[in-house]
């Protein structure tokens, strides 16, 4: 009995609070260091791209003796000529042809399907169509390029043959068509996200005033989500500019400035592929020119992407 009372409150009993464990402290800081490194890698990637493209482009201008003005303003691209000519305009022209052509196909179709998915489609239809569009977005670009060779170009040949119009095996039009089809899912899914986010109250107000579904969709929902729609257009354009394999297989590799969409053209991306697959050894002006073309491509797509982000942020209608 006496023993039991002395047992309570033993002066040297261990403190239940053992303090922060050293192992745990070390682990916590090691983990946060690792995570910081992970995040830093993304920043380093951007830095790496800029440094690589910048340094090697400078080397191009130094070894080839071509001025920046001749490069950006030159209308002739003959890397194997004597003397070689490195004018980027034919490549920019080709890129623009593909971007414009595919935009003409993709933007209306993408926007209409976004409106359908967000305004018209029944819940169950949407549940089927959205995953289907996502599957379409996951198809690799080389497949689209092969489709151009297998299906689009023969169909174009069959259409134009009765008029005696010659369609080249590699032509710009089939590239526009396949790249256009390729970027439809991008336009529609991005636009649909924005249109669906428009609050229900706006639509109900429209219906309450007697508007039809068409009027609500085009005059209320679309203007309210316009910033997102425009942003998705710009992103799709940037994707079309950076597209490589579909264009390599569909449009060929012939640098020229022409308005005829039925002949072969060359884009910036296809030029880069052509040079790497060619036999130009490292350090020659022809090899280094791929970096100069690459930095132009990078600058163009980066500008478009930043611009798209600005549009999205600045003109977004904020609803409570």
């Amino acid at each position: 009995m006496i023993e039991s009372t002395t047992d309570v409150g033993v002066p040297d009993s261990p403190d239940p609070w053992s303090g922060p464990s050293r192992l745990r402290t070390i682990r916590e800081s090691a983990v946060s260091l690792f995570l910081l490194v992970c995040a830093a890698i993304t920043v380093l990637t951007t830095a790496g791209i800029i440094v690589v493209l910048g340094v090697e482009s400078l080397a191009f201008f130094r070894t080839s003796g071509i001025s920046l003005f001749d490069f950006l303003g030159g209308a002739e691209l003959k890397p194997d000529g004597e003397p070689p000519k490195f004018g980027i305009l034919p490549l920019i022209w080709g890129t623009m042809v593909v971007a414009t052509g595919s935009a003409i196909i993709a933007l209306p179709i993408g926007l209409l399907s976004a409106i359908y998915l967000s305004e018209y489609a029944h819940h169950s239809v949407r549940a089927v169509l959205k995953p289907a569009l996502e599957l379409l977005a996951g198809i690799p670009t080389i497949v689209y390029g092969y489709l151009a060779l297998l299906l689009v170009t023969p169909v174009l040949k069959a259409i134009f043959a009765p008029w005696g119009i010659d369609v080249a095996t590699y032509n710009a039009l089939s590239a526009c068509i396949v790249v256009g089809v390729m970027i439809i899912p991008m336009v529609s899914s991005l636009s649909e996200d924005v249109l669906s986010a428009v609050p229900r109250g706006l639509r109900e107000a429209g219906y309450g005033l007697g508007a039809t579904k068409f009027e609500v969709s085009t005059r209320i929902v679309l203007p309210a989500g316009l910033s997102g729609v425009v942003a998705s257009f710009i992103l799709a354009l940037s994707r079309a500019i950076g597209e490589t394999m579909a264009v390599v297989l569909a449009a060929g590799m012939r640098p020229q400035i022409t308005l005829n969409p039925l002949t072969s053209i060359e884009t910036m991306t296809t030029y880069i592929v052509a040079v790497t697959n060619g036999d130009a050894p490292y350090g020659t002006p022809k090899y280094l020119s791929l970096f100069a073309v690459g930095i132009t491509l990078f600058a163009m797509t980066l500008t478009l992407n930043i611009f798209s982000g600005l549009v999205l942020r600045r003109y977004r209608e904020v609803y409570q």
Partner: protein, 317 residues
């Protein structure tokens, strides 16, 4: 009075009645294009794979299906060749699987780590905004630019011999890892944002450290979203051709890679090489390769979509 109003009151009932359904039909047709394209694409590729002079007619579905199966199975077992009857994709498929595994090992921890850092460790502010903008821009960089980066940085080591990896699986997988990194980061961030704040507070209140909270509660709860994003990004890596052409998967290779420092080629690059060939018989081989690639990708993507649809709503809890 009613007579005066009548002049300005123009309901255009008829036009409005017609225009609405017309627009609806146009929208529906536009949406259907995607599905139509998908079926035309699959149909024409299958038809091209089965094209031979004395083949069965198209409506003999059973015979065609077995024939397609045998054809694809033979393509999987044969290696590259300049003879269309002996050509196949074995080396490319093995190379693609090697690459898939290595990219998963590099990119998933890095991507999830960067996302956890941004969402859980950094307070909203300048640093976070800079990294966030940077990742958004990286996601829009054309894949061929990553090819240029990989070529200079990994294949050639920026001119330093000791850093150069040559045209090895190392160089290819690192390049692709950088390419898919932003996609994984963005998807993981979105998944982490759906985890309710009360879960974090509960874990911290019970004495968990920040890492314990993330490891035991936040990540498991966000796992379906992370998995979906990761699978989608890996399937993008599998189908990517242009950057791999640049970092050296281009050549014709006759042996299987045995380790990460071996030379390799991948399925899409082999498809590209066969597609370029002017010989007509190669069209069947190319079409067969595309079917193998599509089967692989559609399985991966469908898995991702199913995971999201099944667990997506519960994660939001």
């Amino acid at each position: 009075m009613s007579r005066e109003v009548r002049g300005t009151y123009a309901p255009h009932r008829y036009t409005r009645m017609i225009l609405g359904p017309l627009f609806g039909v146009a929208c529906f047709l536009a949406t259907i294009t995607g599905v139509v394209v998908l079926s035309v694409l699959l149909g024409s590729v299958i038809a091209a794979a089965l094209r031979r002079p004395d083949g069965p007619p198209w409506y003999a579905l059973g015979t065609n299906a077995t024939e397609l199966y045998h054809f694809l199975a033979s393509l999987v077992s044969k290696s590259q060749s300049s003879d269309p009857t002996a050509a196949g994709f074995r080396i490319g498929i093995v190379g693609s699987l090697w690459l898939l595994g290595m990219v998963a090992v590099f990119a998933i921890p890095m991507g999830v780590g960067a996302a956890v850092f941004l969402e859980e460790f950094v307070r909203p502010g300048r640093l976070r905004r800079v990294i966030q903008t940077n990742i958004a821009n990286l996601a829009g960089v054309p894949s061929i630019v990553y090819g240029i980066l990989g070529l200079t940085l990994f294949v050639r080591g920026f001119g330093y011999k000791s850093f150069a990896m040559g045209r090895s699986l190392w160089a290819g997988s690192l390049t692709l890892s950088l390419l898919v990194l932003p996609v994984i980061v963005i998807a993981t961030q979105e998944a982490l944002r759906t985890v309710p704040q009360s879960l974090r507070q509960a874990a911290l209140a019970l004495g968990a450290t920040r890492w314990q909270m993330i490891r035991d509660h936040v990540i498991p709860s966000a796992l379906p979203g992370i998995l979906t994003g990761t699978i989608l990004s890996l399937s993008r890596a599998i189908g990517e051709t242009a950057p791999l052409l640049m970092v050296g998967a281009a050549g014709s290779i006759g042996v299987l890679p045995k380790g990460p420092s071996d030379r390799y080629t991948v399925l899409p690059v082999e498809i590209y090489n066969y597609a370029k060939s002017p010989k007509v018989p190669f069209q069947t081989v190319t079409a067969g390769g595309i079917l193998i690639l599509l089967a692989l990708l559609l399985t991966m993507n469908a898995t991702a979509i199913i995971i999201r649809n099944r667990y997506g709503s519960s994660a939001r809890g």
